[in-house]
Amino acid sequence: MDKQSQKAVESAEEATRLANFLKKVREAELEAGGPKTTAHTSAVGVPVEDTAKPKG
């Protein structure tokens, strides 16, 4: 196997490794029911909003 072919094989193996990991994570997330967020934006004396989307 020449160097280029070897590099291609390694690259494919790496891609498979990452893909397997992502698949495992997504399976675990699905089993957990998907993400839910509880967010709280507030100030005393002004309108309070619960479960608003916080600003990143």
Binding site: L18, K24, T37, V48, T51, K53
Partner: protein, 331 residues
């Protein structure tokens, strides 16, 4: 059975801590949920065939810090690994998955109540997980807390150690402080079920305010675990005085529970004279505002609670009752 509680000399003594109504039988179910979470997280990380992993020997340093902290940080490492896998950055992918980097050096542990404390990097645009920004431990999104941030967090945790039934905090393992705010300014705090043990919160120089936000978000984490241990409420809606709209029972009950615990916390702080001056006025104003909304929500609470497990329902009802009763008699 209320837990014993002691405060430093010179403070009034509370008969009941915040969240004194937690049933022990439900606590065991919650422990099973948390243990399953830890095992699932470990299994996910172990599967990636990382050459530097030492998983087969069971050498997971994060476990030394206990289930709460270890589990929360594991979830950050998984989300960080997902981020780097999507970017096809195998070097960073392997780094965040390595047990050697289980607890990054910049994480500070709370002393009275061990929680990993980290700070959001203000120069970093957080990735979104679901619909919430996520600053992930193990990425450039999180950095070492400043001395002021760490001090405020430690003081807030110290307050909670004195005032709150530790059961409420058992679902929380990580606190990520985000933006500094003035005490009376609008501030954000949030949790996501994608990072089940993490609380994100803005902070101010007043530990009493950060303590209040931790109580609020820890309540969400606890209730998420309680729903996970039993079942989620169905798709039925109720008017929410906090949002001013119809909300699903899930969100309605979350708000009722979390704001009732905030009220208990404020009452406990005021009764015990732990807050003075501006902080005292802040907590008094918060208590006054929230009690009014809890009373407003109470008319729908009975029906909403009928859609969930009886133990969880009894817990929420007890928390609401104590909050409305003024919470904390002085001995």
């Amino acid at each position: 059975m209320p837990l014993p509680l002691s405060l430093a000399e010179g403070h009034n003594v509370l008969r009941y801590p915040v969240f004194s109504t937690a049933p022990r039988i439900l606590g065991r179910q919650l422990e099973e949920v948390r243990l399953k979470r830890l095992r699932t997280a470990r299994a996910v990380l172990e599967d990636g065939q990382c050459p530097s992993d030492n998983a087969s020997q069971g050498n997971w340093p994060e476990l030394e810090f206990g289930c709460r902290v270890g589990s929360a940080v594991l979830e950050h490492r998984i989300k960080s690994a997902v981020l780097y896998a999507d970017l096809k950055d195998t070097e960073k992918f392997d780094r965040v998955r390595s047990p050697a980097n289980a607890l990054p050096g910049y994480v500070v542990l709370g002393e009275m109540f061990p929680i990993a404390i980290a700070a959001a990097n203000p120069n970093y645009l957080a990735a979104n997980i679901g619909d919430s920004p996520a600053y992930l431990i193990g990425t450039e999104g999180v950095q070492e807390p400043t001395a002021r941030q760490a001090d405020c967090a430690r003081q807030a945790l110290h307050l909670l150690t004195n005032l709150v039934n530790p059961d409420l905090l058992q679902s929380m393992g990580t606190l990520v402080v985000v933006q500094e705010r003035q005490l009376w300014d609008v501030a954000n705090s949030w949790t996501t079920t994608s990072l089940k043990g993490t609380v994100y919160s803005d902070w101010s120089v007043e530990p009493a305010a950060l303590g209040m936000r931790i109580v609020h978000e820890a309540a969400h984490l606890w209730l998420n675990d309680a729903f996970r241990a039993t079942y989620f409420p169905g798709d039925i809606h109720f008017p929410s005085p906090w949002k001013g709209t119809l909300r699903p029972a899930y969100g309605f009950l979350h708000a009722l529970f979390a704001f009732s615990l905030i009220s208990q916390y404020c009452a406990a702080m005021l009764t015990s004279k732990l807050a003075r001056g501006t902080a005292e006025r802040f907590l008094q104003a918060t208590l006054s505002e929230e009690i009014g909304k809890i009373r407003n929500a109470q008319q729908y609470a009975h029906e909403a609670l009928s859609h969930i497990d009886s133990m969880v329902s009894a817990t929420i009802a007890g928390v609401v009752e104590v909050a409305l009763a003024g919470a904390h008699p002085i001995t």
